[in-house]
Protein backbone atom coordinates (compact mmCIF):
# COMPACT_ATOMS: atom_id res chain seq x y z
CA UNK A 1 0.00 0.00 0.00
CA UNK A 2 1.44 3.37 -0.99
CA UNK A 3 2.30 6.06 1.54
CA UNK A 4 -0.20 8.38 -0.16
CA UNK A 5 -3.02 5.93 0.49
CA UNK A 6 -1.80 5.24 4.03
CA UNK A 7 -1.62 8.93 4.83
CA UNK A 8 -4.20 10.58 2.60
CA UNK A 9 -7.13 8.30 3.41
CA UNK A 10 -6.89 8.67 7.22
CA UNK A 11 -6.35 12.44 6.92
CA UNK A 12 -9.35 12.73 4.57
CA UNK A 13 -11.56 10.66 6.91
CA UNK A 14 -10.59 12.84 9.89
CA UNK A 15 -11.15 16.02 7.85
CA UNK A 16 -14.61 15.05 6.57
CA UNK A 17 -15.96 13.54 9.81
CA UNK A 18 -14.36 16.21 12.03
CA UNK A 19 -15.79 19.13 10.11
CA UNK A 20 -19.15 17.37 9.74
CA UNK A 21 -19.42 16.92 13.54
CA UNK A 22 -18.44 20.57 14.14
CA UNK A 23 -21.00 21.69 11.54
CA UNK A 24 -23.81 19.63 13.12
CA UNK A 25 -22.90 20.83 16.64
CA UNK A 26 -22.91 24.55 15.88
CA UNK A 27 -25.50 24.94 13.12
CA UNK A 28 -29.16 23.93 13.12
CA UNK A 29 -29.45 21.17 10.54
CA UNK A 30 -32.23 18.84 9.30
CA UNK A 31 -32.95 15.85 11.62
CA UNK A 32 -31.47 13.41 9.09
CA UNK A 33 -28.04 15.02 9.48
CA UNK A 34 -28.33 14.98 13.29
CA UNK A 35 -29.17 11.27 13.15
CA UNK A 36 -25.96 10.61 11.23
CA UNK A 37 -23.95 12.51 13.87
CA UNK A 38 -25.63 10.47 16.63
CA UNK A 39 -24.70 7.31 14.72
CA UNK A 40 -21.10 8.49 14.45
CA UNK A 41 -20.97 9.32 18.18
CA UNK A 42 -22.13 5.81 19.00
CA UNK A 43 -19.13 4.44 17.08
CA UNK A 44 -16.84 5.76 19.83
CA UNK A 45 -17.64 3.04 22.39
CA UNK A 46 -17.58 0.41 19.62
CA UNK A 47 -14.11 1.46 18.47
CA UNK A 48 -12.88 1.52 22.09
CA UNK A 49 -14.30 -1.95 22.71
CA UNK A 50 -12.62 -3.21 19.53
CA UNK A 51 -9.29 -1.69 20.56
CA UNK A 52 -9.60 -3.40 23.95
CA UNK A 53 -10.13 -6.71 22.18
CA UNK A 54 -7.14 -5.99 19.98
CA UNK A 55 -5.07 -5.14 23.07
CA UNK A 56 -6.13 -8.44 24.64
CA UNK A 57 -4.88 -10.38 21.62
CA UNK A 58 -1.51 -8.54 21.66
CA UNK A 59 -1.19 -9.07 25.42
CA UNK A 60 -1.85 -12.81 25.08
CA UNK A 61 0.52 -13.15 22.13
CA UNK A 62 3.39 -11.30 23.85
CA UNK A 63 3.08 -13.03 27.20
CA UNK A 64 2.16 -16.38 25.65
CA UNK A 65 5.47 -16.33 23.72
CA UNK A 66 7.45 -15.42 26.83
CA UNK A 67 5.79 -18.25 28.74
CA UNK A 68 6.36 -20.85 26.03
CA UNK A 69 10.04 -19.83 25.61
CA UNK A 70 10.50 -19.83 29.43
CA UNK A 71 12.15 -16.42 29.08
CA UNK A 72 14.51 -15.90 32.01
CA UNK A 73 13.17 -13.64 34.75
CA UNK A 74 9.93 -13.04 32.82
CA UNK A 75 8.05 -16.27 32.18
CA UNK A 76 6.49 -16.64 35.63
CA UNK A 77 5.01 -13.14 35.52
CA UNK A 78 3.87 -13.68 31.94
CA UNK A 79 2.27 -16.99 32.92
CA UNK A 80 0.37 -15.20 35.70
CA UNK A 81 -0.95 -12.68 33.19
CA UNK A 82 -1.93 -15.38 30.68
CA UNK A 83 -3.73 -17.50 33.29
CA UNK A 84 -5.53 -14.49 34.79
CA UNK A 85 -6.50 -13.13 31.38
CA UNK A 86 -7.95 -16.54 30.50
CA UNK A 87 -9.67 -17.42 33.78
CA UNK A 88 -11.82 -14.30 34.12
CA UNK A 89 -13.32 -14.31 30.59
CA UNK A 90 -13.90 -18.09 30.79
CA UNK A 91 -15.68 -17.72 34.14
CA UNK A 92 -17.67 -14.76 32.81
CA UNK A 93 -18.79 -16.65 29.73
CA UNK A 94 -19.49 -19.98 31.44
CA UNK A 95 -20.93 -19.28 34.92
CA UNK A 96 -21.73 -15.56 34.44
CA UNK A 97 -20.87 -12.42 36.43
CA UNK A 98 -23.71 -12.93 38.91
CA UNK A 99 -22.49 -16.39 39.97
CA UNK A 100 -20.95 -16.99 43.38
CA UNK A 101 -17.70 -18.36 41.94
CA UNK A 102 -17.14 -15.30 39.73
CA UNK A 103 -17.86 -12.95 42.62
CA UNK A 104 -15.48 -14.97 44.80
CA UNK A 105 -12.72 -14.83 42.19
CA UNK A 106 -13.25 -11.12 41.70
CA UNK A 107 -13.77 -9.92 45.26
CA UNK A 108 -11.07 -12.05 46.86
CA UNK A 109 -8.42 -11.53 44.21
CA UNK A 110 -8.87 -8.46 42.02
CA UNK A 111 -10.61 -6.26 44.58
CA UNK A 112 -8.21 -7.19 47.38
CA UNK A 113 -5.12 -6.60 45.24
CA UNK A 114 -6.47 -3.26 43.98
CA UNK A 115 -7.29 -2.00 47.47
CA UNK A 116 -3.93 -3.21 48.83
CA UNK A 117 -1.91 -1.49 46.11
CA UNK A 118 -3.77 1.75 46.70
CA UNK A 119 -3.20 1.46 50.46
CA UNK A 120 0.52 0.82 49.95
CA UNK A 121 0.79 4.09 48.02
CA UNK A 122 0.02 5.91 51.29
CA UNK A 123 3.19 4.55 52.88
CA UNK A 124 5.26 5.39 49.83
CA UNK A 125 3.88 8.93 49.98
CA UNK A 126 4.53 9.21 53.71
CA UNK A 127 8.14 8.10 53.22
CA UNK A 128 8.61 10.47 50.29
CA UNK A 129 7.11 13.38 52.24
CA UNK A 130 9.36 12.66 55.20
CA UNK A 131 12.50 12.46 53.07
CA UNK A 132 11.91 15.07 50.39
CA UNK A 133 9.31 17.71 51.29
CA UNK A 134 11.55 20.56 52.42
CA UNK A 135 10.93 24.31 52.19
CA UNK A 136 14.25 25.22 50.57
CA UNK A 137 12.90 28.24 48.67
CA UNK A 138 10.07 30.74 49.17
CA UNK A 139 7.93 28.83 46.64
CA UNK A 140 8.60 25.58 48.49
CA UNK A 141 7.68 27.25 51.77
CA UNK A 142 4.38 28.55 50.34
CA UNK A 143 3.58 25.11 48.93
CA UNK A 144 4.33 23.47 52.26
CA UNK A 145 2.24 25.93 54.28
CA UNK A 146 -0.75 25.78 51.92
CA UNK A 147 -0.52 21.97 51.84
CA UNK A 148 -0.55 21.81 55.63
CA UNK A 149 -3.49 24.21 55.89
CA UNK A 150 -5.56 22.25 53.34
CA UNK A 151 -4.72 18.98 55.12
CA UNK A 152 -5.88 20.39 58.44
CA UNK A 153 -8.98 21.78 56.73
CA UNK A 154 -9.94 18.34 55.43
CA UNK A 155 -9.29 16.63 58.77
CA UNK A 156 -11.87 17.49 61.47
CA UNK A 157 -9.04 17.76 64.01
CA UNK A 158 -7.82 20.91 62.22
CA UNK A 159 -10.83 22.87 63.41
CA UNK A 160 -10.31 21.58 66.94
CA UNK A 161 -6.72 22.86 66.89
CA UNK A 162 -7.59 26.26 65.39
CA UNK A 163 -10.93 27.51 64.01
CA UNK A 164 -9.09 29.40 61.28
CA UNK A 165 -7.90 26.26 59.43
CA UNK A 166 -11.26 25.58 57.70
CA UNK A 167 -11.55 29.25 56.70
CA UNK A 168 -8.01 29.41 55.32
CA UNK A 169 -8.32 25.97 53.65
CA UNK A 170 -11.55 26.95 51.90
CA UNK A 171 -9.99 30.26 50.83
CA UNK A 172 -6.96 28.49 49.31
CA UNK A 173 -9.24 26.14 47.38
CA UNK A 174 -11.67 28.86 46.32
CA UNK A 175 -9.24 31.53 45.18
CA UNK A 176 -5.55 30.71 44.51
CA UNK A 177 -6.17 27.07 43.58
CA UNK A 178 -9.35 27.66 41.56
CA UNK A 179 -7.85 30.68 39.81
CA UNK A 180 -4.66 28.85 38.87
CA UNK A 181 -6.59 25.78 37.65
CA UNK A 182 -8.96 27.95 35.60
CA UNK A 183 -5.96 29.56 33.92
CA UNK A 184 -4.47 26.13 33.20
CA UNK A 185 -7.79 24.81 31.88
CA UNK A 186 -8.22 27.79 29.55
CA UNK A 187 -4.62 27.55 28.32
CA UNK A 188 -4.88 23.81 27.67
CA UNK A 189 -8.28 24.32 25.97
CA UNK A 190 -6.74 26.82 23.54
CA UNK A 191 -3.86 24.41 22.98
CA UNK A 192 -6.27 21.54 22.35
CA UNK A 193 -8.23 23.73 19.93
CA UNK A 194 -5.06 24.49 17.99
CA UNK A 195 -4.06 20.80 17.88
CA UNK A 196 -7.60 19.80 16.86
CA UNK A 197 -7.53 22.32 14.01
CA UNK A 198 -4.09 21.16 12.87
CA UNK A 199 -5.26 17.54 13.03
CA UNK A 200 -8.41 18.30 11.04
CA UNK A 201 -6.51 19.98 8.24
CA UNK A 202 -3.88 17.23 8.24
CA UNK A 203 -0.90 19.25 9.51
CA UNK A 204 -0.71 17.33 12.79
CA UNK A 205 0.09 13.75 11.85
CA UNK A 206 -0.08 11.97 15.20
CA UNK A 207 -2.90 9.67 14.09
CA UNK A 208 -0.93 8.59 11.02
CA UNK A 209 2.35 8.21 12.93
CA UNK A 210 4.84 5.84 11.39
CA UNK A 211 3.85 6.71 7.82
CA UNK A 212 6.65 8.67 6.25
CA UNK A 213 5.97 11.55 3.87
Amino acid sequence: MSVTVKRLIPVAIVFIIGFYMIFVSYIVVPPALTDVSKQLTSWGPIITALSMGFGYIILMRTHGRRTIRLQKGEWLYSLTIVVTALVYPVLYLTVGPASAIYKLAYEHVNQTIGASIYAIVLFALTGAMYKAFRARTLNGFLLLISGLIVMLWVAPIGEVIWAGFPVLGAWILDFPSKGAFRGMVMASAFGALAIAYRTLIGVEGGHVAGVEE
Partner: protein, 276 residues
Protein backbone atom coordinates in the same frame (compact mmCIF):
# COMPACT_ATOMS: atom_id res chain seq x y z
CA UNK B 1 24.64 12.62 66.14
CA UNK B 2 22.60 15.70 67.12
CA UNK B 3 18.85 15.87 67.59
CA UNK B 4 18.31 17.36 64.13
CA UNK B 5 20.24 14.47 62.54
CA UNK B 6 18.22 11.96 64.52
CA UNK B 7 14.95 13.56 63.37
CA UNK B 8 16.10 13.55 59.76
CA UNK B 9 17.28 9.95 59.88
CA UNK B 10 14.31 8.09 61.33
CA UNK B 11 14.11 4.79 59.41
CA UNK B 12 11.23 4.72 56.89
CA UNK B 13 9.75 1.50 58.41
CA UNK B 14 9.37 3.40 61.72
CA UNK B 15 7.70 6.33 59.93
CA UNK B 16 5.35 3.88 58.18
CA UNK B 17 4.62 1.94 61.36
CA UNK B 18 3.60 5.14 63.16
CA UNK B 19 1.33 5.91 60.21
CA UNK B 20 -0.34 2.50 60.61
CA UNK B 21 -0.86 3.25 64.30
CA UNK B 22 -2.47 6.64 63.61
CA UNK B 23 -4.90 4.99 61.19
CA UNK B 24 -5.64 1.91 63.30
CA UNK B 25 -5.96 3.42 66.78
CA UNK B 26 -9.14 5.47 66.11
CA UNK B 27 -10.74 2.34 64.65
CA UNK B 28 -10.28 0.63 68.03
CA UNK B 29 -11.08 3.65 70.19
CA UNK B 30 -13.09 6.24 68.17
CA UNK B 31 -12.55 9.89 69.09
CA UNK B 32 -15.80 11.19 67.58
CA UNK B 33 -14.58 14.60 66.40
CA UNK B 34 -17.37 16.82 64.99
CA UNK B 35 -17.58 17.08 61.18
CA UNK B 36 -18.78 20.35 59.66
CA UNK B 37 -20.84 20.09 56.47
CA UNK B 38 -19.18 21.92 53.57
CA UNK B 39 -21.15 24.10 51.14
CA UNK B 40 -20.14 22.02 48.10
CA UNK B 41 -21.57 18.85 49.68
CA UNK B 42 -24.70 20.62 50.93
CA UNK B 43 -25.32 21.87 47.38
CA UNK B 44 -25.60 18.27 46.15
CA UNK B 45 -27.99 17.35 48.93
CA UNK B 46 -30.17 20.37 48.07
CA UNK B 47 -30.21 19.47 44.36
CA UNK B 48 -31.56 15.98 45.08
CA UNK B 49 -34.11 17.40 47.55
CA UNK B 50 -35.19 19.98 44.99
CA UNK B 51 -35.98 17.46 42.23
CA UNK B 52 -39.64 16.67 41.71
CA UNK B 53 -40.63 13.12 42.68
CA UNK B 54 -39.97 10.57 39.96
CA UNK B 55 -37.11 12.55 38.38
CA UNK B 56 -34.58 10.48 36.47
CA UNK B 57 -31.00 10.38 37.77
CA UNK B 58 -28.19 8.97 35.64
CA UNK B 59 -25.41 7.77 37.93
CA UNK B 60 -21.97 6.88 36.69
CA UNK B 61 -20.95 4.46 39.44
CA UNK B 62 -17.18 4.69 39.10
CA UNK B 63 -16.39 2.74 42.26
CA UNK B 64 -13.37 0.50 41.77
CA UNK B 65 -11.15 -1.56 44.10
CA UNK B 66 -8.72 1.34 44.46
CA UNK B 67 -11.37 3.94 45.21
CA UNK B 68 -13.86 1.99 47.27
CA UNK B 69 -12.50 3.23 50.61
CA UNK B 70 -12.55 6.86 49.60
CA UNK B 71 -15.76 7.15 47.57
CA UNK B 72 -17.59 3.82 47.93
CA UNK B 73 -19.50 4.72 51.05
CA UNK B 74 -20.41 8.18 49.71
CA UNK B 75 -21.75 6.58 46.53
CA UNK B 76 -24.01 4.33 48.61
CA UNK B 77 -25.23 7.36 50.60
CA UNK B 78 -26.10 9.16 47.35
CA UNK B 79 -27.98 6.11 46.02
CA UNK B 80 -29.90 5.86 49.29
CA UNK B 81 -30.87 9.53 49.13
CA UNK B 82 -31.93 9.40 45.46
CA UNK B 83 -34.10 6.30 45.92
CA UNK B 84 -35.56 7.39 49.26
CA UNK B 85 -36.72 10.67 47.66
CA UNK B 86 -38.70 8.66 45.11
CA UNK B 87 -36.46 9.37 42.12
CA UNK B 88 -35.60 6.88 39.38
CA UNK B 89 -32.00 5.73 39.10
CA UNK B 90 -30.08 4.51 36.05
CA UNK B 91 -26.62 3.16 36.83
CA UNK B 92 -23.77 2.90 34.34
CA UNK B 93 -20.05 2.28 34.77
CA UNK B 94 -17.12 3.66 32.74
CA UNK B 95 -14.70 0.98 34.01
CA UNK B 96 -14.95 -2.80 33.82
CA UNK B 97 -14.77 -3.05 37.63
CA UNK B 98 -17.80 -0.86 38.26
CA UNK B 99 -20.69 -3.32 37.54
CA UNK B 100 -19.44 -5.69 40.24
CA UNK B 101 -19.70 -2.90 42.80
CA UNK B 102 -23.15 -1.86 41.57
CA UNK B 103 -24.43 -5.42 41.93
CA UNK B 104 -22.91 -5.67 45.40
CA UNK B 105 -23.91 -2.24 46.77
CA UNK B 106 -27.26 -1.29 45.25
CA UNK B 107 -29.63 -4.30 45.66
CA UNK B 108 -29.46 -4.19 49.51
CA UNK B 109 -30.31 -0.46 49.49
CA UNK B 110 -33.10 -0.92 46.93
CA UNK B 111 -34.55 -3.84 48.89
CA UNK B 112 -34.42 -1.85 52.13
CA UNK B 113 -36.42 0.95 50.47
CA UNK B 114 -38.77 -1.49 48.64
CA UNK B 115 -37.63 -0.26 45.24
CA UNK B 116 -38.24 -2.51 42.27
CA UNK B 117 -35.65 -3.33 39.66
CA UNK B 118 -36.70 -2.13 36.22
CA UNK B 119 -39.23 0.35 37.61
CA UNK B 120 -37.31 2.37 40.19
CA UNK B 121 -33.75 1.54 39.21
CA UNK B 122 -31.86 -0.09 36.38
CA UNK B 123 -28.26 -1.22 36.03
CA UNK B 124 -27.07 -0.88 32.44
CA UNK B 125 -23.48 -2.00 33.17
CA UNK B 126 -20.13 -1.10 31.67
CA UNK B 127 -19.76 1.22 28.72
CA UNK B 128 -16.58 1.53 26.69
CA UNK B 129 -14.98 4.75 25.54
CA UNK B 130 -15.30 6.87 28.71
CA UNK B 131 -15.93 10.36 27.23
CA UNK B 132 -17.20 9.12 23.87
CA UNK B 133 -19.29 6.53 25.68
CA UNK B 134 -20.88 9.15 27.91
CA UNK B 135 -21.59 11.36 24.88
CA UNK B 136 -23.23 8.41 23.11
CA UNK B 137 -25.37 7.50 26.15
CA UNK B 138 -26.67 11.05 26.45
CA UNK B 139 -27.28 11.25 22.74
CA UNK B 140 -29.16 7.95 22.54
CA UNK B 141 -29.00 5.27 25.26
CA UNK B 142 -30.05 2.50 22.87
CA UNK B 143 -27.00 3.21 20.69
CA UNK B 144 -24.78 1.95 23.54
CA UNK B 145 -27.01 -0.52 25.38
CA UNK B 146 -29.53 -2.96 23.94
CA UNK B 147 -29.73 -4.96 27.18
CA UNK B 148 -29.07 -4.14 30.84
CA UNK B 149 -26.24 -5.71 32.88
CA UNK B 150 -28.49 -8.65 33.78
CA UNK B 151 -29.35 -9.43 30.17
CA UNK B 152 -32.87 -7.95 30.09
CA UNK B 153 -33.85 -6.17 26.88
CA UNK B 154 -34.19 -2.42 27.39
CA UNK B 155 -37.69 -2.39 25.90
CA UNK B 156 -38.77 -4.89 28.58
CA UNK B 157 -37.79 -2.50 31.41
CA UNK B 158 -40.54 0.04 32.23
CA UNK B 159 -38.04 2.72 33.32
CA UNK B 160 -36.08 2.45 30.08
CA UNK B 161 -39.24 2.88 28.00
CA UNK B 162 -39.45 6.40 29.39
CA UNK B 163 -35.76 7.32 29.19
CA UNK B 164 -34.13 7.59 25.77
CA UNK B 165 -31.41 10.20 26.23
CA UNK B 166 -30.31 13.48 27.80
CA UNK B 167 -33.74 15.11 27.39
CA UNK B 168 -35.21 12.61 29.87
CA UNK B 169 -32.43 12.93 32.47
CA UNK B 170 -32.82 15.45 35.30
CA UNK B 171 -29.53 14.95 37.15
CA UNK B 172 -26.18 13.31 36.55
CA UNK B 173 -24.22 11.94 39.50
CA UNK B 174 -20.67 11.00 38.70
CA UNK B 175 -18.56 8.93 41.08
CA UNK B 176 -15.04 8.92 39.79
CA UNK B 177 -11.37 8.47 40.50
CA UNK B 178 -10.29 9.93 37.20
CA UNK B 179 -8.74 13.40 37.08
CA UNK B 180 -9.90 13.74 33.43
CA UNK B 181 -13.55 13.37 34.36
CA UNK B 182 -14.40 16.95 35.47
CA UNK B 183 -13.49 18.44 32.08
CA UNK B 184 -15.29 15.58 30.30
CA UNK B 185 -18.43 16.26 32.34
CA UNK B 186 -18.23 19.95 31.47
CA UNK B 187 -17.84 19.11 27.75
CA UNK B 188 -20.37 16.30 27.39
CA UNK B 189 -23.01 16.88 30.08
CA UNK B 190 -23.05 20.52 31.20
CA UNK B 191 -22.30 22.42 27.98
CA UNK B 192 -24.53 20.59 25.47
CA UNK B 193 -27.46 19.62 27.72
CA UNK B 194 -27.26 21.79 30.86
CA UNK B 195 -27.93 18.80 33.13
CA UNK B 196 -26.97 19.50 36.78
CA UNK B 197 -23.98 17.48 37.95
CA UNK B 198 -22.99 16.12 41.35
CA UNK B 199 -19.40 14.90 41.48
CA UNK B 200 -18.15 12.49 44.14
CA UNK B 201 -14.43 11.99 43.75
CA UNK B 202 -11.01 11.64 45.36
CA UNK B 203 -9.18 14.71 46.68
CA UNK B 204 -6.94 15.20 43.64
CA UNK B 205 -9.85 15.06 41.18
CA UNK B 206 -11.87 17.35 43.45
CA UNK B 207 -9.19 20.03 43.31
CA UNK B 208 -9.09 19.74 39.52
CA UNK B 209 -12.90 20.01 39.43
CA UNK B 210 -13.11 23.27 41.43
CA UNK B 211 -12.76 25.56 38.36
CA UNK B 212 -16.06 24.10 37.12
CA UNK B 213 -17.87 24.73 40.41
CA UNK B 214 -20.64 25.93 40.61
CA UNK B 215 -21.40 26.79 36.95
CA UNK B 216 -20.81 23.47 35.22
CA UNK B 217 -20.53 21.12 38.21
CA UNK B 218 -23.02 22.12 40.89
CA UNK B 219 -21.70 19.97 43.73
CA UNK B 220 -18.30 18.45 44.51
CA UNK B 221 -17.86 15.92 47.28
CA UNK B 222 -14.20 15.38 47.84
CA UNK B 223 -12.76 12.16 49.19
CA UNK B 224 -13.82 10.47 52.40
CA UNK B 225 -14.58 13.87 53.93
CA UNK B 226 -17.27 14.54 51.30
CA UNK B 227 -18.68 11.04 51.83
CA UNK B 228 -18.79 11.55 55.61
CA UNK B 229 -20.52 14.90 55.22
CA UNK B 230 -23.16 13.31 52.99
CA UNK B 231 -23.72 10.44 55.40
CA UNK B 232 -24.36 13.01 58.13
CA UNK B 233 -26.69 15.02 55.87
CA UNK B 234 -28.91 12.01 55.23
CA UNK B 235 -28.58 11.07 58.93
CA UNK B 236 -27.06 7.67 58.18
CA UNK B 237 -23.48 7.75 59.52
CA UNK B 238 -21.49 4.80 58.18
CA UNK B 239 -17.92 3.86 57.23
CA UNK B 240 -16.84 7.32 56.02
CA UNK B 241 -17.99 9.06 59.20
CA UNK B 242 -16.17 6.42 61.24
CA UNK B 243 -13.05 6.78 59.10
CA UNK B 244 -12.74 10.54 59.67
CA UNK B 245 -11.05 9.99 63.04
CA UNK B 246 -8.34 7.98 61.26
CA UNK B 247 -8.02 10.79 58.72
CA UNK B 248 -7.70 13.31 61.56
CA UNK B 249 -4.93 11.47 63.39
CA UNK B 250 -2.98 10.47 60.28
CA UNK B 251 -3.12 14.01 58.84
CA UNK B 252 -2.04 15.42 62.18
CA UNK B 253 0.86 12.96 62.21
CA UNK B 254 1.86 13.99 58.67
CA UNK B 255 1.65 17.66 59.64
CA UNK B 256 3.86 17.14 62.68
CA UNK B 257 6.30 15.08 60.62
CA UNK B 258 6.58 17.83 58.01
CA UNK B 259 6.92 20.64 60.54
CA UNK B 260 9.56 18.84 62.64
CA UNK B 261 11.65 17.70 59.66
CA UNK B 262 11.59 21.18 58.15
CA UNK B 263 12.62 22.80 61.43
CA UNK B 264 15.42 20.23 61.76
CA UNK B 265 16.60 20.92 58.19
CA UNK B 266 16.52 24.68 58.83
CA UNK B 267 18.45 24.28 62.09
CA UNK B 268 21.03 22.03 60.44
CA UNK B 269 21.54 24.51 57.62
CA UNK B 270 22.21 27.22 60.25
CA UNK B 271 24.76 24.98 61.94
CA UNK B 272 26.58 24.38 58.63
CA UNK B 273 26.73 28.12 57.95
CA UNK B 274 28.24 28.72 61.39
CA UNK B 275 30.88 26.03 60.75
CA UNK B 276 31.94 27.80 57.57
Amino acid sequence: MGLSDRILNIPIPVVSFLMILTIALPMVTPIGLPIKIGSMTKAGYDIILGLSEGSVVLMSYGVSPAGVTEVGTGAKALVYHVLSEGHKLILVGPAVDNPMFVEKDIPPIANMLNKQYGIDWVHLGYYAGVEMGLAAILSDISSVYTTDHRGNKLQDLPLMQEVKGAADIDLHICVTFSADMPSQLARQVAAPYGIPIILLCDGVTGTIATPYYPTQIQSIMMSMRGSAEYELLIKRPAEATGGMDSISLSYLYLTLLLVITNIATFYKRGEKKEER
